[in-house]
């Protein structure tokens, strides 16, 4: 079941800014990350989903109801990017106020306050005035306000922007805990590590357009890289590989040959490990006459595709020394997709061949 659904949703300001033609869905229990550089339209997207902004075109539903539906908000919690609260209230009074705004019965509010304070790590601080809170504490109490109604759907816009590393870790743990409880979370962030740690799926926005979206597996398509190191027996093997690239388009598109002389430059640590292994692999003796190994860098569509490439190489008579599949980090994925959009697939492929984009 989709908790959030949009179709060609756009919000622009006289044709500028905002975001355009966003179509995506967030299913129940999913932690959905929204990534993008500053000014990409992330906060505008959240505000539109919450009904703060009137959409320019397209459609959107939250819990099957139109965006901004008053009753739907009972099931939603929201921590804004720009948070500020009534400074003369104490933390407890602020949580009570937000409970009252949700029209929760007083007994339920009384029951929820200590639970929420525990969740946000602010037990013992609730009697102090908000004015005396640090920025990080204000962000935590803001998260508490978003959680007071025990929402099914949480919108968190940069929830750790004011927190120190310990605070960030605690909030990340809290998000994992909420995820385990089956909450749906829409997380806006430009902190890649935060999104990487908790999100099941994500979308990347750049200049108001969705560059890519999907689950981790789906996003890795095109940026999943396999490295196959060949055990070279003859000097002619490099020439054979080049011939295969000329003859077969899929070899030309997916495979980059890293010659021994380029290895250190292109492969970094992985190559060093390969080089070290070459002398320690059991059953082999380095004679000094064997030509140095060649590494093939192969762009994979799926993780399983590496087996096909091994089979193809073996069928062509190559001996395999080592196989590795590198799972890209979110940072690599992020830049991969941002640059793909900025430079176009062809340019991306070109850069990729030269080992400049991973």
């Amino acid at each position: 079941m989709n908790v959030i659904w949009t179709d060609q949703l756009s919000k622009t300001y006289r044709g500028h800014g905002g975001f355009r033609q966003a179509s995506f869905a967030v299913s129940k229990g999913q932690v959905f990350g929204c990534l993008g550089p500053n000014g990409a339209g992330k906060s505008t997207l959240v505000k539109t989903l919450l009904g703060f902004l009137r959409l320019t075109s397209g459609k959107g539903l939250v819990f099957g109801r139109p965006l901004g539906d008053k009753e739907t908000r009972r099931r939603i919690g929201y921590l804004p990017e720009l948070f500020r609260y009534h400074t003369w209230l104490t933390g407890e009074e602020l949580l009570r106020l937000h409970g009252q705004l949700h029209r929760m019965p007083e007994s339920q509010i009384r029951q929820r306050i200590p639970v929420v304070l525990e969740q946000i790590g602010m037990l013992g601080q609730e009697k102090k005035k908000i004015a005396s809170y640090s920025k990080g504490m204000q962000q935590r109490i803001g998260l508490g306000c978003a959680l007071i109604n025990d929402p099914e759907l949480l919108f968190l816009d940069e929830p750790t922007s004011a927190l120190d590393p310990i605070g960030r870790r605690q909030i990340r743990d809290l998000l994992v805990h909420l995820k385990a409880q089956g909450k749906t979370i829409f997380l806006n962030s430009h902190l890649l590590s935060e999104v990487e740690a908790v999100c099941d799926a994500l979308l990347i926005l750049n200049r108001g357009r969705i560059v890519v979206q999907g689950t981790w597996e789906q996003l890795q398509i095109g940026s999943l890289v396999g490295r196959i190191r060949l055990f070279c027996r003859e000097e002619t093997e490099l020439a054979r590989l080049r011939r295969l690239q000329r003859q077969k388009p899929e070899w030309r598109e997916a495979v980059t040959i890293i010659e021994p002389s380029q290895a250190g430059h292109h492969a970094g640590n992985t190559q060093t490990e390969f080089t070290q292994n070459r002398f320690t692999l059991p059953g082999f003796t380095q004679t000094g006459n064997t030509p140095p190994g060649i590494t093939l860098r192969i762009v994979l569509r799926t993780r399983e595709e590496i087996a096909d490439w091994v089979a193809r190489l073996v069928a062509e008579g190559f001996a395999i020394e080592e196989v590795q599949v590198e799972k890209p980090s979110l940072e690599e994925l992020f830049f991969h997709w941002i640059e793909e959009k900025e430079t176009g697939p062809e340019a991306k492929q070109h850069l990729s061949r030269h080992g400049e984009v991973g």
Binding site: F52, P80, H86, L97, Q100, C145
Partner: protein, 284 residues
């Protein structure tokens, strides 16, 4: 709406500007009271000898000038306290926490209006009766005794001033920044006050064109007209069978009609309606 109403009241009471205004109001009342004391001490012998024109003149002058400054203070409070009500809270981020709850924008707006209006009404009422009380106490005269229904009517027109300003400022704050709203409403308020003076001068000079200019300013913002109505209601309905002559500029030589009170009330409602529509339609 009830939560927003209580929140607005609480916010108003906790605002530093309100504390400052209370302090300054206290200072003003002390200063004003001391001035009255000095004046009425000089006139002591006359008071003892009964009603006389000199005393009535003094009383009229100091009473109306006190009332004028009190109405100015309520106006300033209304403007300063409500100038950042909508756009200011959006800019600061305060509004997002509220609007993400199951509460409509109209409830937020009307809650804010009623909360502020209650505060301004109580403040205005306290000032109004403080001015009357000080004059009565320090003059040692029972001259300033008013027929109850007219006293209530005067108190209502007096306290309507900040509420009209509140409605207009709220409407402005749905679109303009606190600074922008502040500039516009201060100019309008200034125009209303100056218009009131011009109208009184026009009457004194028996120049209907000048008088009409004053009336026009009352139509643009009928705040000063409510002050003039308050003064005329009080000065014409004393319990003793005399009429206090109006003080120049601060009095009311030609009292606004009842139609003006109706107009002012409708004016306030129209601006409240504009505020509601404008807030409901805007992006936040």
């Amino acid at each position: 709406m009830n939560v927003i109403y209580r929140l607005t009241l609480s916010e108003g009471i906790h605002r530093r500007i309100f504390h400052l205004l209370l302090l300054m109001t206290g200072g003003f009342l002390l200063f004003y009271g001391y001035g009255l004391h000095l004046v009425y001490r000089e006139r002591g012998e006359m008071i003892l000898s009964g009603i006389n024109t000199g005393m009535i003149h003094d009383m009229s002058f100091f009473f109306t000038i006190g009332l004028f400054f009190a109405s100015f203070l309520t106006g300033i409070l209304a403007i300063l306290a409500s100038v950042g009500s909508i756009q200011g809270e959006i800019e600061s981020g305060l509004m997002y926490g509220i609007l993400s709850k199951p509460i409509s924008r109209l409830e937020v707006l009307f809650g804010k209006f009623l909360g502020n209006a209650t505060l301004f009404f109580l403040y205005g009422l306290a000032l109004f009766f403080s001015i009357i009380g000080l004059n009565r106490w320090l003059s040692g005269s029972t001259l300033l005794s008013f027929e109850t229904p007219y006293l209530i009517a005067a108190a209502l027109t007096f306290t309507l001033q900040p509420i009209i300003l509140l409605a207009v400022t709220l409407a402005l704050s749905t679109r303009l920044s606190p600074m922008g709203s502040g500039v516009v409403i201060m100019i309008l308020y200034g125009l209303s006050l100056i218009g009131g003076f011009i109208e009184q001068i026009g009457i004194e000079l028996e120049n209907p064109d000048v008088e009409r200019l004053g009336i026009l300013s009352s139509l643009i913002l009928p705040v000063d007209a409510m002050y003039r109505m308050t003064v005329s209601t009080l000065s014409n309905h004393l319990t003793v069978p005399i009429t206090i002559p109006s003080a120049p500029l601060f009095g009311s030589h030609h009292p606004p009609s009842l139609a003006m009170a109706v107009y002012a009330s409708l004016y306030m409602l129209v601006f409240l309606g504009i505020a509601a529509i404008s807030f409901r339609k805007r992006d936040v």
